[in-house]
């Protein structure tokens, strides 16, 4: 078991309920496949520095969790099939820093 961080960029034209659904979907998937969700962050709608597939902005969702390689494989499969996700990034860590939040604005996140 090791620690991971997963960042998802979703399309900008989704409603807030859809964004919540995506978050729920992936946090459930982590918990199902021998993983353990530690923290979720909602970075909100951010402007891209450069265009991605002709999109200019997107919703950022950040998940911190503990898991095995099987959870990572499962997530990668799902993300490929998901149409509402533009891009994602998974980073492995030895230690997770759960306190710092670089994208918290107005104390809005949960």
């Amino acid at each position: 078991m090791s620690y991971y961080e997963h960042t998802i960029i979703a399309k900008h034209d989704l409603s807030t309920a859809d964004v919540e659904n995506i978050k729920k979907k992936y946090s459930d998937l982590i918990n199902k496949t021998d993983g353990e969700l530690i923290k979720t962050e909602n970075w909100g709608l951010l402007n891209f520095a450069n265009k991605i597939q002709n999109f200019k902005k997107g919703f950022y969702i950040h998940l911190k969790f503990k898991g095995k390689s099987s959870t990572i494989n499962e997530i990668k499969k799902r993300v490929k099939l998901d149409d509402s996700i533009i891009r994602d990034l998974i980073v492995k860590y030895k230690k997770l820093d759960t306190e710092k939040e670089y994208f918290s604005k107005n104390g809005k996140e949960e």
Binding site: A49, I52, L89, D97
Partner: protein, 90 residues
Amino acid sequence: MKSKKGKFNKKSQNPINKLSLFQKNDAKFMRKCPFSKKDAPEIDYKNVKLLKRYISENGKILPSRITNISQKKQRELSSSIKRARNLALI
């Protein structure tokens, strides 16, 4: 008397108070690595403010001979800059 002039001179020599122009510059102004100090900031791909200090106007990564970052930290920095680029944060 006991006087080891050669050794003593080298240590006390400052580049400012050189005696002549042709004297060799032994002590240089070496800045230390900004990430190897005590309570230095951690390099992370989410910390966009920090990463932006170490890229040029065109978005290229600055070489360590300009920023004086140690080899190990430069490797960390470049990988985290590439991660941030991939997420279109920089």
